[in-house]
């Protein structure tokens, strides 16, 4: 090997160091370009993937969040029980709440150029109840649907088999958004997978499973709902939903400007973002039913009313929200969150945290403390089987807190942490005493039906397996009553009944937590906290 002269060596070293330095600059330069969002594209950090983009068939709230931009709902919900025109300019409801007649806008076109007519509404709704669609969330929202009648080109009447006062609530959700009949016919099973055609202010550009969904502005949009004070095209040219399941990574993309809007902000980042100068935290109390414990009434010992009542008094909800949820969540009182129509504030006084009361109730019912502090009655030990899923991690933290609280009053709680298939097997078959529940929704009747109606017991969603003819009657009356004052009274009664029968333990009411970069303005979120909508959004640098 030849010797290299010193001068040459220094020259080569200089070139090497220079190249290295340049390579250090390169990624930064490329990065700046990659992060340069401009003022026309919004990048959204989404907390997970989903099953299908077909809003009619999905079970995912995230799909509703995206789809709300691609479709238009018939009506918009501006607050509990307050509806404003969407694709429907006006509507009437029959006195018995079994028929709804909608007059449609006459200037609306789908992304494929076909006009919106009454027939499209009929096709959309018929598709929801078609067994082949396997609709889930949309199927719940459409309730006891019977048929749609095309009255004329722009008037449609939707009929129900039984009174259904909650239909406007369903019609305001993205899941009942009107889709293009021509596209459904053309693409069949591929609708929602490769195409998704509605009338909304944005159109689907591309969808990479588990990676991202790209929407571009609908250039022909001229039918913005009056409540948005803006009729024409959206201000943004595109929205990119990037799927970033890991909390820390999603927050990192937000900090670096890789995303400008994020959902599911972890409670651990709550305070930091609240105090941030260039980020804004959006905190909207979630509508529906907060985190709670279902107690199986068909399995001993939770078939004993005293045991269920004792559980209601034994759990320190204030301590739970502080320890597990950093006080970002609020202690819950009722099966309905406080912002729901008909929420009864009286429920907050009814079942206070009182371990002594819990012990008294158990003593009176014959459950005596055994040698290890766990109570027994005859030969039965007071042991509750608690089934929960491995994710989210907060489940396990809450369960451990509940376990410790229950032990204080002599109840043993055995945690069975299982993967989803085994968990669902156990709770659908009723092998549990306890399981968690959490539900979003904006209609009280729908929530109460899911939790308490006997039609959902025995393997359905009422995993309390609670069967009460009085509760069933109340829920049916709520569904059939359109008069607000009367409805409120019924909803209140149902909550009282659920507390008297000690059906569930209500733990924590969550807020929906989103965060936006300060440059992003004009974001609208529905009052239930589920759907951030970017029709009026601008990015101002």
């Amino acid at each position: 090997m030849d010797r290299i002269p010193r001068r040459e060596l220094l020259k080569r070293a200089g070139v090497g160091i220079g190249t290295l330095a340049a390579s250090q600059m390169l990624p930064r330069w490329l990065l700046d370009r990659a992060y340069a969002q401009g003022t026309t594209a919004l990048t959204y950090g989404m907390a997970g993937g989903f099953d299908t983009l077909d809003v009619t068939a999905t079970t995912f709230t995230r799909v509703g969040r995206i789809a709300l931009h691609i479709i238009d709902p018939l009506v918009w919900a501006l607050g509990p029980g307050q509806y404003a025109p969407g694709l429907a300019t006006s509507w009437t409801v029959s006195p018995d709440a079994t028929a709804y007649t909608f007059s449609l806008r006459q200037d609306v076109k789908f992304h494929d150029g076909t006009p919106l007519t009454a027939d499209a509404v009929k096709v959309t709704f018929d598709r929801i109840v078609d067994p082949n669609t396997r609709a889930q969330t949309a199927f719940s929202f459409i309730g006891p649907y019977d048929r749609s009648e095309v009255v004329d080109r722009y008037t449609v009447r939707v009929r129900f088999k039984s009174p259904y006062a909650a239909f406007l609530d369903g019609a305001s959700s993205p899941y009942l958004g009107i889709i293009s009949p021509a596209a459904v016919q053309k693409y069949g099973q591929d609708f929602g997978r490769v195409v998704f055609v509605g009338t909304g202010p944005f159109m689907l550009q591309s969808y990479s499973t588990d990676a991202e969904v790209r929407l571009i502005r609908n250039p022909n949009y001229a039918w913005g709902a009056p409540s948005f004070n803006h009729q024409g095209r959206a201000y943004l040219e595109s929205i990119v939903y990037r799927i970033v399941p890991e909390d820390a990574t999603r927050l990192a993309t937000f900090e670096t400007g890789e995303t400008l809007f994020v959902e599911d902000v972890p409670v651990t980042d709550y305070q930091r973002l609240k105090n941030s100068r260039d980020k804004v935290l959006l905190e909207i109390p979630q509508a529906g039913s907060g985190w709670s414990l279902m107690m199986n009434q068909t399995r001993s010992p939770t078939n004993d009313l005293a045991v269920r009542r004792a559980m209601m008094h034994a759990i320190d909800k204030g301590g739970l929200v502080k320890t597990v949820w950093n006080d970002v969540f609020k202690a819950a009182c009722s099966p309905l969150t406080p912002n729901m129509f008909g929420f009864d504030a009286e429920t907050c006084r009814k079942v206070p945290y009182n371990p002594d009361q819990a012990k008294r109730l158990l003593d009176e019912a014959g459950w005596r403390a055994g040698p290890d502090g766990i109570r027994v009655k005859g030969s039965e030990r007071l042991r509750l089987e608690f089934f929960l899923q491995t994710a989210p991690q907060k489940n396990i933290e809450m369960a451990a807190f509940i376990q410790a609280n229950a032990k204080q009053v002599g109840i043993e709680v055995n945690l069975n942490v299982a993967a989803r298939p085994a968990y669902l097997d156990a709770v659908r078959q009723g092998r549990h005493n306890l399981q968690f529940w959490w539900e979003t929704g904006t209609d009280p009747g729908q929530i109460l039906r899911i939790l308490f109606h006997s039609e959902n017991a025995g393997g359905g969603t009422n995993r309390n397996n609670y069967r009460s003819p009085e509760m069933d009657r109340l829920i049916q009356q709520i569904d059939a009553t359109a008069d607000p004052a009367q409805r409120q009274g019924l909803v209140s009664k149902a909550q009282q009944r659920a507390l008297d029968d000690a059906v569930m333990v209500y733990l924590a009411d969550p807020p929906s937590l989103y965060a936006r970069d300060r440059s992003v303005t004009g974001v609208w979120v529905d009052w239930g906290g589920n759907y951030p909508y970017f029709f009026n959004t601008r990015i101002q640098r």
Partner: protein, 307 residues
Amino acid sequence: MLRFVFRRLLLVIPTMVAVSILVFLMLHLVPGDPAIIFFGDQPVTPERLELVRHQMGLDRPLVVQYWDYVRGIPRGDLGRSIRNRTPVLEELRTRIGSSAALALAAFAVAVALGLGLGLLSALRRGTWVDAGAMLVALAGVSMPIFWLAAMLIFVFSLKLGWFPATGFGGWNRLVLPAVALGFVSSATLARLVRSSVLEVLLQPFVTTARSKGLWEAVVIRRHVLKNAFIGVITVMGLQFGTLLSGAVITETVFARPGVGKLLVDAISNKDFPIVQGAVLFIALVYIVLNLLVDLSYAYLDPRIRFE
């Protein structure tokens, strides 16, 4: 040689049949009804549940289900997901590209680091260089990948701003996941290279080569490395398979779509066709890799002949 390759390729068929039967049976033995999982926490009547079970084809005898599945394979039809009805082949296709890019980049990192560190520590045995290199390898073996990934994001994305935090689309999004995944697998490789090289260095033919007056670099390249590589290349082959199909944590932390994540999600949803398709793909990858590894033996050691 060609006959050997042809024979090995023919063996793919019975291997794949055995894999498909095993996976099929295992999936059906594990508890959990796909129709119940499909509805999850949504309200459903027994009639709808039965209907979906029928639509998923779960009410047919097991043999019929298996036969229907196998019949499609020669036509390239791996069926459709029973959950969202997407063709399995398409679900795989959309993820293989991303998985392959990550696996190749991570493999490059693993090989460069693993060979470099292993060789360096073997040649400088007993010095601080050896100790340092093995310390790095030890760190790689013991470090949980999710922690390393989070640290890389923290330093290189959040603090220095050199690379994006999420790894999908564009070469600069590939760097952090490739380093995280590659570093962890390089550790095993480094330790293996070190011990193999040390073993060969003690062989009499190395002394002979040196006594002939050969350059040390030539001794190492021609005589030591080639002989030490027989064992190393077997592990490298297996590692590439793991990088391609088992990078679930890396894919999750860096938000990349991939075959590993697809498989894990499909298992938790009991989406039979997807699980079967993904496992068949992974089996095929391993078969091809093993064949390539076997063929490389002949190059590394001329005494090995395939007849």
